[in-house]
Amino acid sequence: MPRVSNWQLGRDMEYPYEGSRPKRQFCMIMDTNKCIACQSCTIACKSTWTWGKGQEYMLWNNIETKPFGFYPTGWDVNVLDRLSEQSWDGDTYAGKTLFEAAPDGERVLGWTPDEEDWNYPNIGEDEPTGDADTVPYLEDAPHSMMWMYYLQRICNHCTYPACVAACPREAIYKRPEDGVVLVDQERCRGYQECLTACPYKKTMFNLETRVSEKCIGCYPKLEQGLQTQCTTACIGRLRLTNYLSRPDEIDPRKPADYLVHVKRIALPLYPQLGLEPNVYYVPPVHVPVDYLTQMFGPGVEQAIATYRNAKDDPELLGLLMLFGSTERIIDTFDVKDGVARGYDEEGKEIVAVPLREPTFVRPLEFATELAGEPATGFRHNT
């Protein structure tokens, strides 16, 4: 089996095909700390791409409450259970990936959800772990602290997709121009091998057309230089659609490169599975580090520390404030004189956001004297 380079693991690994990185990689940055699970992204996606007959159960984008929310039910815990305990040696993954742990005769260590597992996208919603003695689903919760957070999920448009590896017809492909992973709708014969192989469970079977479908990264928007529907619909402004450069071509002026490679505050989801996923998460600051390390890899503590320090880091703060500020894809950014600016590929400014909005404080006397009243306090709405 060919060996490919996986920078997230700090080592080479086995993959059924030769490595071939796209020119640049579509990616998304998610700041988990800002999400309120309003599902605006889910609805934006659903009403754009999957409102057809046969797609009823499909959510190419979903928000789930961790640790007890899943779509489909138990997707990550089932995959982790099958992979069993693995370890990191510093920043280098010392365990096996899903490709390296594949059983004899299979290309990927997979897990197949039952039909019913797709039926409860909101199961576990808003449930914290509570007290370890009274946790509803798990007998042995890892800790007794009250916490939960929202995980934003789309297809990871992986550098080494398990769906591509598993498809016997080579009906799934990765676009060389932007790394978007697509199912060839003409070529697919509905074997659903991808549904078993993808650990993130982001390929789905259309019940009417009887072929697999998946998140397409809103590629018709990307081709016009626009961010995805889930990004632009996000009222929490926590998403950024962007491109990640090849690992040897990192450019700190580019937003994704800066957040993922320079500041390292945005981390991949379950990197140990070996797919080099390309949705990157700013981890939630209030969640136990052990849990987050299992989910986002060994960089969690540093990422949280850097994120907490953003108020004293104008460049990082400025970039975070550019999230949700424009529908256009930001190619490069800078922060000067208290203003963060985003530029397109021609270097033309497309958005400017001040780090601090101007504030005017009304004197107490001003408010009350104008109204002809004694100075007892501010008056509003008069």
Binding site: W51, G52, K53, G54, Q55, E56, Y57, G105, E106, R107, T112, P113, D114, E115, W118, A166, P168, R169, E170, Q185, E186, R187, C188, R189, G190, Y191, Q192, E193, L195, M204, F205, N206, L207, E208, T209, R210, V211, E213
Partner: protein, 299 residues
């Protein structure tokens, strides 16, 4: 009629076996000599009896099938290439064949107690396929041929029987489903069609309007299945509570596909069976290796 049985070992070591084993060498060495005693050594296993006056390609229960000798071919779980079938769920396939000089037809029977005829999330269909070489003589690799040596495949699917009856899709999978507004409720048909992307892209599997439950395919190896946009193969399958019986037939001239199936030439035939409820699909199938196939001369 004589009944000829070849063993699983014979099938697995049969003519055209995968890998280095040459079909020609085996034809002389193994299979043919082990064919049932009533068939002289060197004679084919599957014989298409000649019948004038029409072939019941859409009636597997027709009495005409009694005119054809029955061969029982053993089925094995496909474990040559991933994705593999971990275990076999059916032991053998009973085959009869007829021809009338214009149409070649097969009747195929296998045990499967449960009907699986709807495609859904991890729900797969029962199916059967007949594979023929496109040229007479030594057959291509059993792996659905190889580059430069194609195979001609005819596949029947239980799902397509339901398509013909207009009984597939979400409403059949979930009879109590309640739909919100759907694209075809509010958009012109040409626009609404775009929301069934597979259908709009012309994927033959996504079409529900069909005229036959038989798909014709050419392939040059696993993973190269290529749909032929023609409907001159016909067939029908019935389930009796414990087994499927499927009849299928097609023009023997095979125009645009391969050499005509002439009685005077040496042919081979191979088969595949899918058990839907055991998640058989694609390469996760049962297969019967090439067996010699002869078309009886005109009576």
């Amino acid at each position: 009629m004589s009944e000829k049985t070849i063993t699983r070992r014979d099938a697995l070591l049969g003519a055209g076996a995968i890998g280095a084993v040459g079909a020609g060498a085996l034809a002389g060495a193994g299979v043919i000599g082990l064919v049932g005693s009533e068939e002289p050594a060197g004679e084919p296993v599957v014989v298409a009896a000649f019948r004038s006056g029409g072939i019941p390609v859409e009636d597997p229960a027709a009495a005409a099938w009694d005119d054809a000798p029955e061969a029982t071919v053993p089925l094995a779980a496909q474990q040559v290439a991933p994705p593999r079938l971990p275990y076999a769920g059916v032991a053998d396939l009973r085959v009869r064949a007829l021809h009338d000089g214009e149409t070649v037809a097969f009747r195929l029977q296998w045990e499967d107690a449960e009907v699986s005829d709807l495609d859904g999330v991890h729900r797969f269909h029962d199916a059967v396929a007949v594979m023929l070489p496109t040229r007479a003589g030594t057959p291509p690799a059993i792996t659905m041929g190889a580059a430069g040596s194609p195979t001609h495949i005819l596949q029947w699917r239980a799902t397509w029987e339901r398509d013909l009856a207009g009984k597939t899709g979400v409403d059949q999978l979930y009879p109590r489903v309640v739909h919100d507004v759907m694209p075809d409720d509010v958009l012109p048909p040409a626009t609404a069609r775009l929301y069934w992307v597979g259908r709009a892209a012309g994927n033959p599997l996504s079409q529900k309007e069909r005229t036959t439950p038989i798909e014709q395919i050419v392939a040059e190896g696993f993973g190269t299945t290529t749909h032929l946009p023609r409907d001159d193969a016909r067939g029908h399958g019935v389930h009796d509570g414990s087994s499927w019986t499927v009849a299928l037939g097609f023009p023997s001239r095979r125009e645009g596909i391969g050499a005509p199936l002439d009685p005077g030439l040496t042919w081979s035939v191979a088969f595949a069976v899918w058990i839907g409820e055991q998640a058989n699909r694609g390469g996760r199938k049962h297969y019967a290796n090439w067996v010699p196939f002869r078309l009886a001369a005109r009576a």
